[in-house]
């Protein structure tokens, strides 16, 4: 810690240790802060019997496993597989709920290459079965999280398929999505958005 001769802290050093700066450091860990907030919220929902929502394990193709004597099996060769579904699903008030969470450092839009075609097909199938389906998109630069219902997302995906832009602009997301503020308990209360009037317009 560098202090001025008058005993006050150097203002820039102050910034470095501020909460928002710590968050930015966390962002560097490939969206861990955002994911941890979702996981902590799911844990809160589970403990308070509000919903049962889990992250699906990362799909891995296991090629080689060793079974050493007197110790547990070790996977020695495996590969990451392209996910065919979204990352999170579960049950909320008896209904099936399904979503994908993505973070971007982009300041003006959400690039669609973040989403696989299989995932879109999955979200479409879920929506047709009457499930609640959406994306949670974190704009890291602004610390803003938006819940974008699949029905809106579909329009922009179709635009890209038709040869249009390969991203959704932040303005479009702010118009069509619902801002989820960071809080304390739960840290990211995305389920609250589902009771809003905006959501009712879409999912009836």
């Amino acid at each position: 810690m560098v202090n001025y001769p008058n005993g006050k802290k150097h203002p820039s050093k102050d910034l470095v240790t501020s909460d928002s700066e710590k968050r930015k450091i966390n962002y560097g860990r490939r969206g861990m802060f955002f994911e941890e907030a979702i996981d902590a919220s799911n844990q809160y929902y589970l403990l308070n019997q509000i919903a049962v929502i889990h992250k699906r394990p990362t799909p891995v193709q296991i090629v080689k496993v060793d079974y050493p004597k007197r110790s547990k099996a070790v996977i020695k060769e495996a590969y990451f597989k392209t996910p065919s579904t979204t990352d999170y699903n579960g049950i909320y008030k008896g209904r099936y709920l399904d979503f994908e969470a993505k973070e971007t450092r982009n300041k003006t839009s959400f690039p669609l290459h973040n989403i696989h075609e299989h995932q879109v097909e999955h979200m479409k199938a879920v929506t047709e079965q009457g499930g609640i389906c959406f994306l949670l998109i974190h704009f890291a630069e602004y610390e803003e999280v938006y819940l974008l219902p699949y029905q809106h997302f579909e329009v922009y995906w179709q635009r890209m398929t038709d040869g249009g832009r390969k991203s959704i602009t932040l303005t479009e997301i702010r118009n069509d999505g619902i801002l989820i503020p960071y809080g304390y308990k739960p840290r990211l209360d995305y389920l609250a958005a589902l009771t809003l009037r905006e959501w009712g317009k879409i999912n009836g």
Copy 2:
């Protein structure tokens, strides 16, 4: 192929190449036949827009990953984690559906050590949220698959917790469960059981 002098096939050779024998060979691959039948049925449900049900990936703790130049990432060290949920979940007619599939070679009962306590807690939470929850139990010796609703399973789990037997007898499963016959399309039509009167008694 060994034939009798009269041109007829040797009856025991006939047996060896019969369908049921092929199945028994498959059973040896740690329940792969049963799992494949479930996966194929889920694929059928998906393609025919009946339901969207997926197997969750095996949960793995990844410790070491190599990123070789010009080729994809290789997981070099990882461990199997104890699952905290069931293996399968999804959506059927708008409702959340969740189940665990287990195979036993036991001829008289289903040993409860096949199920982890975390999985029971998960199934209980799902049931309390209004989800459809059950176990699919394959008795390999008889080629019989039963759908046992969680509400019935819970009674036997409680019996064990209270110091009683550590298994559910086949007779109990035949009484409380619904037999799912092996078929063609889909190979294991477990969703059909959910429309039965027996299921209605439990889940209303």
